[in-house]
Amino acid sequence: MRSQHNHIQELLGPLLMWGVAAMVTLPFLWITGDLIVHGVSHLSFEFLLSPPHDAGRQGGIRPILVSTFLIIGVCITVAMPIGVGTALYLSEYTRNDKVLGRLIRSSLDILAGVPSSVFGLFGNVLFCQVLGLGFSILSGGLTLACMMLPIMIRTIEEGFRSLVQDQRLSAAALGLSKYTTIRVVLLPAAIPSIVVAGILGLGRALAETAALVFTSGYVDRMPESLLDSGRSLSVHIYDLSMNVAGGNAHAYATALVLLSVLLSMNVLASRMVTRWTLHIHTLA
């Protein structure tokens, strides 16, 4: 009786695990499959390289791709240094300073949960109106940077915290200054977590729609500078599927492109991390 009970338990455990894994994986496979089925026939080099016509029902997505990369470029260029700097400050300088550290951390945790439309309105007021950048790629990128920062900072901070104390102690014991310790010991060792934080942030930025509608706008012309309005892939998908009758086919194709960009960025980053870790290990 007892052994039968154990047997059932042993079967049930893995089954439950598989069930949970399937619940997470199936929607992803479903979405991907659906996108491929409906979108792949419209996908071509011409689609990627030509501008949209007839509100996106015809033509392609070239200016939209360019705008998307520009927005993400602005976002990551601004968010990375601020993110790494704040994370360093939190993990290396506020260890004993409980009040300030706690204040910053709880602010970040609350910001991480703020809806993107609120970030969009905030970006619209601050960047578009107060700073006079108007509906532009710059405004969009900066708003996305604000949105990405909370989660990025906490991820990088965890990376710094997980580094072994030995290296910090040994650097201090050699009379190395804090600056040198950070530069030569901590930063190189935390590269993988910084890359992961970047990827998480990029994923969120690529998928963002609401915040961008309020800040970078949805003009689908080829941008001439960062101060031009530009439409991102996600906004294009939203517009085609919600506002343009007969735009579904191209919405599918655009979503497929977005997914591919996201996937290839992920693969690239994990390759980079593996190579870097290998590099450290060959050194090790």
């Binding site: 102690l169 009379g175 190395l176 050194l283």
Partner: protein, 289 residues
């Protein structure tokens, strides 16, 4: 309180606190260290988050002596060691009180130049802690940090130091290779070389041989012995045989209700041949600890 005969029953949990053993002037057969106090601790106490870990340690460590700190785990030996180069500052919630002097320098003063203190007091840890760089870069980094830029002088100091630790012949052809590719024993010697590059006066060794195989451990031990006279060496060790072999002085710590105290301090010879405290006797005979 008479420490020698007060308690027939030995227990680490007994409520009575031992006093501090008075310092025995140096009189060993081996005239290696001058009877000049180099490091002086008086009523030194260390607490973590308000919980005392080490209490009222007073002792004088002689210049050029090799002093072993022995005792069971958790009796505050490493904390004591780390207070000497103020690495305790890096540990959250750690508070050091009492007085601690290196020559005339008040180590615990807030005015003390920490980078300079740590240049004067080198430290080696249980596990080799090399940075993921080349051998050359590992050795040159601390000196560069302290302002030496001259490549010829750096190279010269590096060669001299590597010879001092007996690594020169082993690594001279692969100075640009990753330091962490060396064997454990070589890494530990390289760590020692890295500390010696800064020409310190004092060396703190925290169980430097415990993570090494017996052969490497022997080599590192011989190296430590060779450093006597030139440097004031403090070594934390769990290996009593090693302490007996190499130390001039031995400080014996014990944990009372989780709080470390110095039980006995004296020459290695007197400590091992004629211990004055029952706990010491029990510990070195293997009955305790």
């Amino acid at each position: 309180m008479d420490l020698t005969h007060s308690h027939p029953r030995l227990s680490p949990d007994r409520p009575e606190k031992p006093g501090v053993h008075t310092w025995v002037p140096y009189s060993s057969k081996d005239p290696c260290c001058e009877p000049i106090a180099h490091i002086q601790a008086k009523d030194l106490s260390i607490a973590y988050h308000g919980q005392p870990a080490l209490e009222q340690v007073s002792l004088e460590i002689n210049r050029g002596c090799l002093t072993a700190l022995v005792g069971p785990s958790g009796c505050g030996k490493t904390s004591f060691l780390m207070s000497i180069n103020r690495l305790t500052d890096l540990i959250a919630g750690c508070r050091v009180s009492g007085t601690l002097h290196l020559n005339d320098m008040d180590i615990l003063s807030s005015q003390v130049d920490l980078l300079n203190l740590r240049r004067t007091v080198g430290m080696i840890f249980q596990k080799p802690t090399l940075f993921p760089f080349s051998i050359r870069h590992n050795l040159e980094l601390p000196l560069r940090e302290h302002g030496m830029r001259d490549r010829t002088r750096l190279g010269h100091t590096m060669e001299k130091t590597l010879q001092q630790v007996g690594l020169w012949d082993e690594v001279k052809d692969r100075l640009e290779h990753p330091a962490q590719a060396l064997s454990g024993g070589q890494q530990q010697r390289l760590c020692l070389a890295r500390a010696l590059m800064l020409s310190p006066d004092v060396l703190l060794l925290d169980e430097p041989c415990s993570a090494l195989d017996p052969l490497s451990s022997g080599i590192v031990e011989d190296l430590i012995v060779s450093l006597r006279d030139q440097y004031t060496v403090l070594i934390v060790t769990h290996n009593l045989a090693q302490a007996r072999r190499i130390a001039d002085h031995v400080a014996f710590f014990w944990s009372f209700h989780g709080v470390g105290r110095l039980v006995e301090y004296g020459t290695a010879q007197s400590m091992f041949d004629n211990p004055k405290h029952e706990l010491t006797t029990a510990y070195i005979s293997g009955a305790r600890g």
